[in-house]
Amino acid sequence: MNIFRRSMIKHTAAGLCAAVLGTFSGTALLAQDFPDKPINVVVAWPAGGAHDTVARLVGDYLSNELSQPVVISNQPGAAGTTGVRAAANADPDGYTVGVMGLHVIAQTYMNENATPWNAIKPLALIEKSPASLSVRTDSGIEDLAGFIDKAKNEPDFILNSNDGPGGFANISALLTQKAIGTQFATIPYQGYAPAVAAIASGETNATTIPTALMIGLAGGGEVKIIAVAGDERHFRAPDVPTFKESGVDFVFSDFVGFFLPQGVPQDRVEILESALMNVMKDEDFLAATQKAGLIISPGDSEAFGAFLAEQDEKVYPVLDDGGLVTANAK
């Protein structure tokens, strides 16, 4: 029976490595002493969400890489700001790692108590999840051109369910409006699941919830994904064209990245960074994430920092236009 096969072998191996390292660590260099205790990964969203799933998958492999246990702790609350603040304010010793997504950029401007995105140390970009646009098939909309047509000619027709101001799907909706040059109604829900349920029940007829969450529903035929805002098509929905292919220049992704509090010694940053980059080269990890439908998009500390700045440039103007900026106004 092979139920415990992989995790057993892996954990035994990790345990052995830890024991061996423990024996010899006394003679090792200071930098190699790190880490000598478990790494705490703070997820700002509840268990079971996208951030949590990515963090647990990465954590599983990262503990092999570092020969230390990786503990995931969920600290949800206040639209993701609580967990991010907890990680950003932790001792900068490298033992606390935070998990962040686009919400950190949005909250920078929407909540003066939130940790600003540029007040943390980017560690590594892990995953990207492109925005998408889906409609109910009974809306009569076939493709992006049809959607734009409908939005322009019948301003009241389109009801877009999303995750509420500051959420990724909400910002996607605002950016979509900007890209196609017309407005439509955006209806807020408490997170992705109820927003998807709303389009399933017909309370709304469009949604900007990311592709990965729409695939199951789209399989049933009631909902159609009409465009993906990636550079290329989503590998799990290969028939859906990108916005670019449909003639609209719109590329926008949510992401999951790891970050550190500012002030962590550079040698420790590098150890964690290279461990994460190694995880994202691991074939087993890539196979597991591929199966899980995740688009792994490795970026080191520097690349992640640049990516964040790029996202900030996209997001700030629509928040400003929407009157959502209440802090750190530019």
Binding site: I3, A193, G219, G293, L324
Partner: protein, 497 residues
């Protein structure tokens, strides 16, 4: 065909006795994790999720379902014995469960919880197997206006169910409503009532509130009582199982609780706190005018939420299978587990991976039955907790309250909030203000506010949206009926007064 699939899924257990052993262990672990305050069913699943990465998908999903179903029952153990809900689904079980335990009926309370859980679980699975598409379809008729009115219905039931102390009950409920407004405005995403602090932006979480207002309040009450003389002894444990007559009286409650649980479970993202709140208030309302008083150790007050939260497991799986979206936070983790194994939950699953559907049905059914068996065996041991001396018990309760309040969001501020509310709960008890309505206000208030405002956004400000939809109109009629029927007997009684 359906039966084949289910039998096939049971088959994997018979082919492999080791797997059956693993299932029994998973159920025991689930009961323990559920009973530990602070480890909710959702967390128990999240903790075990990485262990399942390397397993076959059927085995992974089976293990998770075993733990899930068992932890839902486990939550009621700490609610009944310690007055602390182990999981959000158990927040009302203690209303009557703990008084029963204090009257020396701990065994019977647990028995009621276990039997109601089993009945609810079985009915929930049957609903899942036989009429899932139908339930999914009717749940889809439940949109924002219906949600808003359902919450209003719950609040109305609450106000009129509090016999004698209606004004105090309303006051308590209003405090709960105000608590529910703290944190992020669900519609605009703007923080409110946070007094400029980051701590209050988290909102007031139902679990620390319930733990404080029941657990700590109880400890403070006992402390105060101990100053004025020796503490009343908890009577001997007495009979372990409810009598047949008792069960017969409670039976209709099982069915009502199960129906409510299945249906609310099938409404995506509704969650167990809402299901148990509705189930409890309905029972309370139905018993009005009879000699059975809820909140003082009425078995139906235990049976209703337990049947509802167990049936909810089956119900919450319905949107997962029919639509690919989670019915509650626990199914969100199940979906995560399936996706990690490359399986996409949703309508296509019936044709693409029927064996997984079978494994889900079979696992829930087996989990319910195993929980019953393990629960029955362990009941005698579990109730021995009641034999602890009062002072030891109070220390234990305080400790678990603190762990539980912290662990739910890994937040020290939740711990402080829990202690403050414990003090407040004690003052309320001294003033004879019931605390239960506060809990309901906190659950139902945000639900009503969010859905009412969203309904009005969708209808572009027209209130007629609540009248135009048949289900919503029916709930309005029900609300009027409840208010009307409450006014009627009062008028009749007036001449005597």
């Amino acid at each position: 065909m359906l039966l084949d699939v289910v039998l096939q899924s049971f088959d994997i257990f018979f082919q492999n006795p080791v797997l059956f052993g693993v299932a029994v262990v998973a159920v025991a672990v689930g009961i323990v994790l559920g009973a530990l305050p602070g480890v909710s069913s959702t967390m128990a699943l999240a903790i075990l999720l990485p262990l399942t990465f390397g397993m076959e998908p059927e085995v992974a999903i089976m293990l998770l379902l075993m733990v899930l179903v068992a932890s839902v029952f486990g939550g009621s153990v700490s609610a009944i014995l310690l007055n602390i809900p182990g999981t959000p689904g158990a927040i009302v079980t203690q209303f009557d469960g703990y008084p029963m335990a204090q009257q020396g009926k701990a065994g019977r309370a647990l028995g009621h919880a276990l039997i109601a859980s089993t009945v609810g679980g079985v009915l929930g699975v049957f609903a899942l197997m036989l009429i899932a598409p139908l339930i999914a379809k009717s749940a889809m008729n439940f949109r924002s206006p219906e949600f808003a009115l359902l919450a209003l219905f719950g609040l109305v039931l609450l106000a009129y169910a509090a016999n004698g102390t209606m004004l105090a009950g309303l006051l308590s409920g209003a405090i709960g409503l105000i608590f529910g407004m703290v944190g992020f405005d669900t519609v605009t995403g703007v923080a409110r009532f946070d007094f400029g602090t980051a701590v209050l932006q988290n909102g007031i979480h139902i679990i620390p509130v319930t733990i404080g207002i029941f657990g700590i309040t109880e400890v403070l009450g006992t402390l105060a009582a101990s100053r004025s003389g020796p503490l009343p002894k908890v009577p001997p444990i007495g009979k372990l199982f409810p009598t047949v007559a008792d069960l017969a009286r409670v039976a209709p409650t099982w069915v009502r609780g199960s129906v409510i649980g299945t249906f609310i479970g099938a409404i995506p993202a509704a969650g167990s706190a809402i299901a148990v709140a509705v189930a409890y208030t309905v029972e309370q309302r139905l018993s009005r005018g009879t000699k059975y008083i809820f909140g003082k150790g009425e078995p139906r007050g235990v049976a209703a939420p337990e049947a509802a939260n167990s049936a909810l497991t089956g119900g919450a799986t319905i949107p997962m299978i029919t639509l690919g979206i989670p019915g509650d936070p626990m199914t969100a983790i199940l979906i995560g587990a399936l996706i990690i194994h490359g399986l996409q939950p949703g309508p296509m699953m019936f044709t693409e991976n029927p064996e997984i559907i079978g494994a889900i049905y079979g696992s829930i059914m087996l989990a319910v039955l195993l929980t019953f068996a393990v629960g029955m065996v362990c009941l005698r041991g579990i109730v021995q907790v009641m034999k602890l001396p009062t002072h030891v018990m109070m220390v234990l309760i305080t400790l678990l309250c603190m762990v539980g309040a912290f662990a739910i969001r890994n937040s020290i501020s939740d711990l402080v909030m829990m202690l403050v509310l414990g003090g407040m709960g004690y003052v309320m008890t001294v003033l004879r203000i019931p605390v239960a309505p506060l809990v309901f206000g906190l659950i139902l208030g945000p639900l009503m506010e969010e859905n009412m405002r969203r309904s009005l956004i969708i209808s572009r400000g027209s209130w007629s949206v609540f009248l135009e939809r048949p289900v919503s109109l029916a709930i309005i009629a029900l609300i009027i009926l409840v208010i009307g029927s409450s006014l009627w007997p009062r008028k009749k009684r007036k001449p005597d007064a």
